[in-house]
């Protein structure tokens, strides 16, 4: 009987078109929208790219040339250098083919860049890089020239010290994860798909209560125990929800090429546990007998949207705002917990925080399920 019920629960859920529309089509559409909207934002704002510069020389600049050549070589070259006369350099700058002009006059370097007004943030970063380079080059040159003039025996120590100073600016990442801030939108999208499973959970409550549906009444009149009926319904819904979550994550990871980091199997796990949370939440809301079926549907949808809003699905830094004013809310907001679990996977090498989030989700699921069982255990109804 258990397998018989499970089979038909799975069949009727997997064939529910409107539900599949929300659980599969919705993440495809929203995920594609996010991908198109955020495409390149990370690269242009965060990831370093080579800065094109023109160099105009006068006099002898042998040392400067060596520095520029060393900075223009390799995969992570700082500059892409164009040597030219002043007129050509100005033309390149005007055409925005270079971000600035370096004037080298007998090893002394000065700079010309376009006006900051109207430029993009990427152009601003490039100008800052050129300016910083010029300042550091001139400062180091002055130190070395002074050392040569006054204490030539200390030249090696000074050069070594300057090199140490450079090492202080080295970027040491916490993990090998993807640090793209836009990823949080995709985490929240996965959280939303998981919570949309609350519709499935609502269906369990409605179809198992005689006062909410004719099917519920028919089930209540049968000799099948309610606990068996509810458990099989729950398992059937979780199975369907897991299929939908797997599909959504696979679409994001393999079709839209969203980089979830190196622990993709754990992303599937987090999504699946999130799905259990969504289904059990819907079951708990559906079991509150005072509300009508439509009102319950509205409550679950509204709750899902509110949770996702405070988790940052609509406004990126909302979770940080909540964390400032009501940090406890992020710990009990199902959407925030689901997206945090994905965040932890990407940003921490060990699984401690991830495990904490998974346990939180499971505890919340158990609480919601117990609430649902408690409320639907009613044997007779006061009215139908």
């Amino acid at each position: 009987m258990f397998l018989h019920n499970l089979k038909y629960e799975f069949l009727q859920n997997i064939r529910a078109r409107s539900l599949i529309l929300w659980l599969i089509l919705f993440p495809i559409i929203l995920g594609t929208f996010f991908k198109v909207a955020f495409s390149g934002i990370y690269e242009t704002t965060t990831v370093f790219s080579t800065v094109p510069v023109a160099v105009v020389e006068k006099g002898s600049n042998e040392n400067f040339r060596q520095v520029m050549e060393s900075l223009s070589e390799g995969d992570d070259a700082l500059f892409e250098t164009y040597y030219s006369d002043e007129e050509s350099a100005l033309k390149l700058l005007e055409e925005k083919k270079v971000s600035g002009i370096l004037y080298a006059v007998d090893e002394q370097v000065s700079i010309t860049v376009v006006s900051a007004e109207g430029g993009t943030s990427a152009e601003g970063i490039r100008r800052t890089i050129i300016k910083s380079f010029v300042e550091q080059y001139n400062a180091n040159r002055s130190i070395i020239m002074d050392t040569i003039s006054h204490s030539p025996e200390k030249l090696n120590d000074v050069v070594s010290e300057l090199s140490e100073d450079m090492k202080c600016n080295e970027n040491i990442p916490l993990t090998n994860g993807n640090h793209d801030n836009m990823l949080s939108y995709f985490y929240n999208l996965v959280a939303m798909v998981a919570l949309l499973g609350s519709d499935l959970g609502l269906g369990i409550a409605v179809s198992s209560q005689g006062n909410l549906s004719a099917i519920g009444a028919r089930k209540c009149c049968s000799p099948t125990r309610k606990i068996v009926s509810i458990i099989t319904s729950m398992l059937g819904c979780i199975a369907v929800q897991t299929v939908c979550i797997f599909f959504s994550i696979s679409f994001l990871a393999f079709v839209l090429q969203v980089d979830f980091g190196a622990k993709l199997p754990m992303v599937y796990l987090a999504g699946s546990v999130g799905g259990v949370l969504g289904v059990s939440f819907g079951f708990a809301i559906g079991s509150v007998s005072k509300l009508g079926v439509n009102a319950k549907g509205t409550v679950t949808t509204a709750f899902t949207l509110v949770c996702c809003f405070f988790s940052g699905l609509m406004i990126g830094n909302m979770k940080a705002v909540v964390s400032t004013y009501a940090p406890w809310f992020n710990e009990i907001n199902p959407a925030a917990v689901i997206s945090d679990s994905l965040y932890c996977l990407n940003f921490y090498d060990d699984y401690t925080r991830f495990t904490q989030k998974i346990i939180t989700m499971l505890v919340m699921s158990v609480i919601f399920m117990l609430i649902g069982f408690f409320l639907t255990r009613r044997r007779k109804y006061a009215s139908l």
Partner: protein, 315 residues
């Protein structure tokens, strides 16, 4: 004497100030087609819900198959088939899957269940629609699917709560024939309706309900004998003068005569040749008349005489 299948004693159900069932007593014997007749809101469906242990009640006792009916009386539930007023099937499952699913709530053995499902499909003549989804079925076919889901496990007691609401006449006849067939195969039937013709057609015993009370009970003949009226004569005619109406009222066995909208209606209580006597009075008075009808009392007359209102008016 046949075994008692359902025994309802002194059943009271209140919704705040409204008394939905007022000290109701019913006894249904094995092999009966028991009709619960009454207008909407009379308490028929409430009675059924209490009987099925879906609805809590304030007072009284219900026994089914000789045992007190409770939500965990699974043995009784195993032998009850319920066909709801509202169609209770899954839109996402096909006809055969729906029947198999609901039958599976009662029968664990796969082979036995398979046979029961095929029998239910054959009984409701749904062979050509087994792969159809409910949304593709007509209203009549959907009702037949609803019935198939309720009877597939071959219950001993079948409860049909207004199964013919919004069904075309052809499907309605099929459903009524099916109910009689189920009864002939040994099932006890409880049939609720506010269509008196249906109840008269198929029920062996009838309880008439109004405002939560049982106002009469018996076979249709017994019910009709309870009332004064034994024959109603209707004559299409022009206006009947007061003196002629007086003559008709003075005839033996006539207890009411009135003329409205070109139709003379005379109610008689007992006696023979009432029609001839009435027509003789009209002829003697030189009154022309058209079609003439003589009708035996209906359950509506029973309801009308007991409650002072017609069944249809009460809906």
């Amino acid at each position: 004497m046949a075994d008692t299948i359902v025994k309802i004693e002194n059943l009271v159900k209140r919704y705040k100030d409204l008394i939905a069932l007022d000290h109701l007593n019913l006894e249904i014997k094995q092999g009966e087609v028991f009709g619960l007749l009454g207008p909407n809101g009379s308490g028929k469906s409430t009675t059924i819900s209490c009987l099925l242990s879906l609805l809590a009640f304030d007072k009284g006792n219900i026994e089914v198959f000789g045992r007190k009916m409770t939500p965990d009386n699974y043995e009784a539930k195993r032998n009850i088939g319920i066909i709801m007023q509202n169609v209770a099937v899954f839109d996402e499952l096909t006809v055969i899957e729906n029947i198999d699913y609901f039958c599976g709530l009662y029968i664990k053995n796969r082979e036995e269940r398979k046979k029961c499902v095929q029998d239910a499909i054959a009984f409701t003549e749904l062979q050509d629609f087994t792969r159809f989804y409910p949304k593709k079925l007509s209203g009549g076919l959907l009702r037949r699917l609803n019935i198939a889901c309720g009877i597939a496990h071959k219950p001993k007691l079948i409860i049909l709560d207004e199964p013919t609401v919004a069904v075309d006449p052809q499907s309605r006849n099929k459903i009524l024939e099916g109910i009689q067939k189920l009864n002939a195969e040994g099932a006890t039937i409880i049939y609720t309706s506010h269509y008196m013709e249906e109840v008269e057609q198929i029920c062996t015993r009838i309880a008439i309900m109004d405002k939560g009370k049982k106002i009469a009970e018996g076979t249709k003949d017994e019910l009709k004998k309870m009332i004064k009226n034994t024959e109603t004569v209707s004559v299409e005619t022009s206006a009947v003068p007061a003196d002629v109406l007086e003559k008709i009222n003075a005839l033996p066995h006539v207890y009411s005569a009135c003329c409205t909208d070109g139709r003379l209606e005379v109610k008689c209580s007992g006696g023979k040749h009432n029609l001839i006597r009435i027509l003789n009075v009209l002829q003697e008075s030189d009154l022309h008349f058209g079609r003439v009808f003589s009708e035996l009392p209906t359950l509506n007359d029973v309801f009308l005489e007991i409650t002072g209102k017609a069944l249809r008016d009460s809906d």
